[in-house]
């Protein structure tokens, strides 16, 4: 009975919409961030409103590292539409852009309607005037959508604030007893949703290219097995359960097949499964370890880690020809490669002087940039707009998630208050 109550309590906790397991600490931004004022949106409905839309937008923009939102205490006025804007006041505060808006109560399937306007303070002109709407439960979605629009307008890059992340969190219960959770959350760590909980490890979460399905490896039967699961319905299917290793599922860009690592024929090799027929094709055959496959965005080749040259390095396998080419030559450890959406560069874990960092390599030039200064960095995952890389690292003995911009200038941490967090996977758009 007591157990049931606890479970119920946990359920309540998880289902609270704004509950978040992760917090955000921005550790480094660009030198000259653009100054923007996001004025609290006016709420013209009855009763209190559950989310602070302007606050979420300001936090989104701040997290990108490229914007410095004006603190609310410094605002000289709180305009909500164009007629109320006095450019002089904002210019005096050194504000370059101004976002205002109001929320009104609608009806039918859009009980919440939001109108927002973006101004260029220096040019004294309106850049955006838009309306959007949705359910009360979608307030955070609306806020992220506004962030995306503003980001696109001001940087020319599509925002990734409306995307999600998957991650694994672990907590030591007692002795060798752990509780593992596969969690889905907004890209800002909010609204975490428990997907799977197990006493056995869960690893390698991966997104389907349509963002509606995920794949992961769970040891819940005592042995590793690859599962695919539909997010909305929660329906899942076990894809492989071979003797030995079943790991690192990676959906192809067209969603029709999945690369994975199986050791059923001896040692870890990379296989491609046709998801319609579940037929497997082995693409590597070596006495060395081949693992961590990842598809190039054009779907024509696969990047993987192999120690066929004595040390772990990244290789590229071209599907049409079977040609395998080594990609990394700097350092004695390069693993877990992930291509950027343009296919021009790869991000991977690079060991330099005994330290594991996240690095990016230009494929044409072969030059590499080490992006992080944290220690024991692992599992990089790239935002769909290629602006940021999220990865797992260690801080004070605890596993946390961290993110770094692709130019290395912006950094933030997403520590969890209670648990070790690892293996982030950033969703597609």
């Amino acid at each position: 009975m007591k157990k049931l109550l606890v479970m119920f309590a946990v359920f309540c906790l998880w289902s609270t919409s704004a509950w978040s397991e992760l917090t955000i600490e921005i550790t480094q931004g660009v030198d000259n961030p653009t100054s923007i004022a996001v004025v609290p949106f006016l709420w013209q409905g009855s009763g209190p409103i559950s989310e602070d839309l302007a606050g979420i937008v300001a936090a989104d923009l701040h997290r990108s590292g490229q914007f410095k939102p004006l603190s609310r205490g410094d605002m000289l006025g709180l305009p909500h539409e164009q007629q109320e804007v006095f450019y002089r006041d904002w210019r005096a505060l050194g504000v370059e852009y101004l976002l205002v808006g109001k929320i009104v109560q609608g009806s039918g399937d859009q009980p919440i309607q939001v109108q927002y306007e973006l101004f260029d303070v220096l040019k004294q002109s309106r850049l955006l005037f838009k309306r959007t709407g949705g359910q009360v439960s979608q307030l955070r979605d609306i806020a992220h959508l506004i962030s995306d629009e503003v980001y696109l307008q001001l940087t020319g890059i599509r925002g990734a604030f409306s995307t999600n992340i998957l991650y694994i969190s672990a907590k030591k219960l007692s002795g060798s007893n752990f509780s593992y959770r596969l969690v889905k959350a907004d890209a800002d760590g909010a609204r975490s949703l428990l997907i799977l909980e197990s006493r056995e490890p869960i690893v390698s979460p991966a997104w389907a290219p349509n963002g509606k399905e995920i794949a992961y490896v769970s040891f819940e039967t005592g042995y590793p097995a690859i599962y695919r699961q539909h997010l909305a319905s929660g329906k899942r299917k076990r894809l492989t359960h071979f003797k030995g290793l079943n790991s690192a599922p990676a959906w192809s860009p067209d969603g029709k097949s999945m690369a994975m690592v199986l050791s059923k024929d001896g040692n870890p090799e990379i296989y491609i499964m046709d998801l319609a027929t579940e037929k497997l094709t082995r693409i590597t055959n070596k006495f060395s370890i081949d693992t961590e496959p990842s598809w190039m965005p054009d779907g024509k080749s696969i990047i993987f880690t192999s120690n066929r040259g004595g040390k772990p390095q990244l290789y590229q396998y071209t599907l049409a020809t079977g040609w395998i080419e080594r990609l990394t030559f700097e350092g004695d450890y390069n693993a877990r490669g992930r291509p950027l959406p343009d296919g021009q560069s790869i991000v991977f874990v690079h060991r330099n002087k005994g330290q594991f960092h996240i690095a990016v390599q230009d494929l044409a030039k072969g030059t590499i940039d080490v992006l992080t200064k944290t220690f024991l960095d692992e599992s990089p995952s790239i935002a769909p707009n290629a602006s940021m890389v999220m990865y797992a690292t260690q801080r004070r003995g605890q596993g946390i998630l961290a993110a770094v911009s692709i130019d290395g200038r912006v950094k933030f941490h997403l520590p969890s208050k209670y648990r070790d967090v690892r293996e982030p996977a950033w969703s597609p758009f």
Binding site: N285, S288, R308, G309, G310, K311, Q313, R326, F329, G366
Partner: protein, 270 residues
């Protein structure tokens, strides 16, 4: 096919093992357990001498496995080395090409500088061997690109890569329709066509030089044109042109006139 590669490795391994056994056959008396790999290699040797004990067979198997792993490690290391060297070679090749292009660019810049001495020394073509006389190109300033394109084509002629040279001159003519070296290019293109007996194309190339009546290549071009007409069977036209070369350039002692005289004497009985 699936078992082909491991089988090959096994065969290689066996042969390697045999040769090792042959080397160590002298100390083959001491048969030891498989915990000492270097000694247990001799177990294989004792097996090859015929004294097959169960124990030594098992030791040999263990040894085989051990050797297989050693070999795999060795192959992996060698593979890594090959990959790294391949990469170094590729980088060096690229570096060499970049350096060369850089140097070439700088040289072109130097030669295109409007200094008389510089451009004269860089723009003069070396003597060629196909019967016509050395010709010095005009010393007027031409664009750096034009000079290097012309030189590149001329170098192909010197290297006797005639097909490539022909293509290079054709491209040159398209790219620099009003270039300083156009007459020279036309002349050489004519020579190249003549070389492969494309008489009509050769005729057209040589004939175009009449747009440049004062150009140094004109006497040679006229002589060649006569030759082409003769080869085409137009003896009258050929004779007329040869006589024109002699009458126009004979007094100046131009070599084309001498050639024309010889050609006329040899092929036309007057």
């Amino acid at each position: 096919m699936k078992f082909g590669a491991p089988l090959l490795v096994l065969v290689l391994l066996l042969s390697a093992h045999n040769s090792m056994a042959q080397v160590q056959v002298i100390e083959a008396g001491a048969v030891t357990s498989s915990d000492n790999p270097s000694k247990s290699a001799s177990a294989g040797a004792s097996a090859s001498t015929g004294a097959i004990a169960n124990r030594s067979a098992r030791a040999a198997q263990g040894e085989l496995f051990y050797q297989l792993q050693l070999l795999q490690d060795e192959i992996m290391q060698l593979r890594g080395l090959v990959e790294e060297q391949q990469n170094s070679i590729r980088r060096l090749q690229q570096q060499r090409l970049d350096d060369y292009l850089n140097l070439d660019k700088r040289i072109s810049e130097l030669t295109s500088r409007p200094s008389k001495a510089m451009s004269a020394s860089a723009a003069s073509t070396p003597p060629q061997s196909s019967g016509t006389q050395p010709v010095t190109l005009p010393t007027e300033v031409a664009g750096a690109d034009e000079v290097s394109a012309y030189k590149a084509a001329y170098d192909l002629v010197k290297a006797q890569q005639f097909d490539k040279a022909k293509a290079a001159y054709e491209t040159f003519l398209q790219m620099y329709p009003t270039g300083q070296y156009r007459p020279n290019a036309l002349y050489w293109l004519g020579e190249l066509y003549l070389l492969e007996s494309d008489l009509e194309a050769a005729r057209q190339s040589f004939a175009q030089l009449d747009q440049y009546p004062n150009h140094r290549k004109v006497p040679d071009a006229l002589f060649k044109l006569a030759k082409v007409y003769h080869l085409q069977g137009n003896a009258d036209k050929a004779k007329q042109l040869l006589q024109q070369v002699i009458s126009t350039y004979g007094a100046k002692g131009h070599s084309a006139a001498t050639l024309a005289r010889d050609y006329l004497a040899k092929n036309f009985t007057q």
